[in-house]
């Protein structure tokens, strides 16, 4: 597949913390307009893998390109196309929902109409309430909206379904569908495999930081593009 059609190309991606290797020698290629589900037991390296792609961590070894931009040499170019939604909410409790949206828009250099994004997140009616009065699920929806307004080409979701009600889950579905429709890609880590599988095109399994299995979840040849050394 031509490099231009790939969202992520990782070659030997490794991250060590002291003597512990959280991610070891992961090699994969992810096509555009696809959703990759990353599964594995606790401590498998799923979150570290996402944080590496988000540029929150630097690889100890290996190379990664995100939409053609090198993760180490061009981190800002990677950040321009990537949005990372971590497990916990990253909103500010002392600000209102609207102020949180305005802040995220200003920091990412995006001009938005806050009300539109609050409506998407189902938070329009509580736009002027401090976030400290929100439930965890509402905070999570606000975090999703903050990521969405950046219109990322690569969306990284860490446990996106946790703490969400039916409306929140629909928000995640809509967010993923929107990224795909714009020729972007999504990587999501979750323990809720069944729900994750329904949304994904590809699936990889990490264990002890290694990519141990890759599977296509759709009846295409996508699996050819996701490879691990020794596992094809």
């Amino acid at each position: 597949m031509p490099a231009a059609e790939l969202a992520v190309v990782a070659d030997g991606l490794t991250r060590r913390f002291g003597l512990v290797s959280a991610v070891r020698d992961v090699t994969l290629s992810l096509p555009r307009s696809s959703v990759l589900l990353v599964i594995g037991p606790n401590g498998a390296g799923k979150t570290t893998f996402l944080r590496l792609l988000a540029t929150a961590l630097k690889p100890t070894a290996g190379r990664v390109a995100v939409f053609g931009a090198d993760l180490v040499r061009e981190p800002d170019a990677v950040r321009r196309v990537t949005a990372f939604v971590p497990t916990g909410p990253t909103t500010y409790d002392g600000l209102t929902a609207r102020e949180n949206i305005e802040f995220a828009a200003a920091m990412s250099g995006t001009l938005v109409e806050p009300q539109e994004w609050l409506e998407r997140a189902g938070l329009a009616e509580v736009a002027h309430r401090p976030v400290r009065t929100f439930s965890q699920g509402m905070k999570r929806r606000l975090t999703m909206a903050q990521a969405w307004l950046r219109k990322p080409a690569l969306l990284l979701l860490d446990e996106p379904f946790s703490g969400l009600d039916a409306d929140g889950l629909r928000l995640v579905d809509a967010l993923i569908a929107d990224v795909k429709s714009r020729d972007g890609s999504v990587i999501l880590c979750t323990h809720e495999w069944e729900r994750g599988k329904r949304l994904s095109d590809l699936m990889i399994t990490l264990a002890g930081g290694r990519l141990v299995e890759s599977t296509s979840l759709v009846s295409t040849t996508h699996v050819e593009f996701v490879t691990a050394r020794g596992h094809r």
């Binding site: 929150a56 321009r80 971590p86 002392g94």
Partner: protein
């Protein structure tokens, strides 16, 4: 232009949170007041000692409040999100530094009024010079404070280590601040000491944003 918007948004957010919570400024002002009172009672509340006490109170209060401004965001996990926004991380330095400078400027004004009453100082006739001395010092304190807080971002026990590292670097600034304030109260222009603070400020305002960017990239 985008950088100014980002820095302003960050400073506005920090100040808005502080305005609603009033955690940092209240703690800094109370602590600075206690330092002033303690020094006043032990050394003597005379106009000649007031500049030293003012700057010691400001310097110590900075070390108390500044970590809270940055590390509370780290503890919430929001600081990593800040780092992952596209754009130069220098903008984050400017935003954080501006917020801290604003809080310190308010604190300086409060301390001046208290010192005026406590030390029987005529601050009102010297107000522009005293505010000028404070602004010069506050700029340097906030720049060094923000840089050193970032330097210890991933260090365990950073709140304890920060004052140990910050105090020596703040020493020339506090000393020059004392001299400039003495000159302002005496109706003089401060001469060489204004240049010392000015140089300190320029040096840190030029270097600190670059170092901040380099430090926060090293993860």
């Amino acid at each position: 232009m985008n950088g100014i918007i980002r820095a302003a948004a960050l400073a506005r957010k920090d100040l808005l949170l502080e305005w609603r919570g009033r955690e940092i400024l209240t703690a800094m002002a109370t602590f600075a007041l206690l330092v002033l009172l303690l020094l006043g009672f032990t050394i003597g509340a005379t106009p000649s000692t007031s500049p030293t006490m003012l700057w010691i109170a400001l310097g110590l209060a900075t070390m108390l409040g500044m970590p809270r401004l940055i590390y509370s965001e780290v503890e919430q996990g929001a600081f990593e999100t800040l780092l992952l926004y596209p754009g130069s991380r220098e903008h984050l330095f400017w935003g954080k530094s501006a917020a801290l400078a604003s809080l310190l400027a308010v604190l300086w004004c409060v301390l001046l009024v208290i010192a005026g009453l406590f030390f029987n100082l005529d601050i009102w006739s010297r107000l522009p010079a005293l505010i000028g001395a404070g602004v010069l010092g506050v700029v340097g304190l906030s720049a060094t404070g923000t840089l050193y807080a970032a330097l210890l971002l991933h260090v365990r026990g950073r709140e304890l280590l920060l004052p140990v590292l910050l105090l020596p670097i703040m020493l020339p600034l506090v000393l020059a601040g004392v001299r400039v304030t003495e000159a302002a109260l005496g109706g003089n222009n401060g001469g060489m000491w204004v240049a010392v603070i000015g140089l300190f400020d320029i040096l840190f305002l030029l270097l600190a944003p670059l170092l901040f960017e380099a430090i926060t990239e090293e993860t």
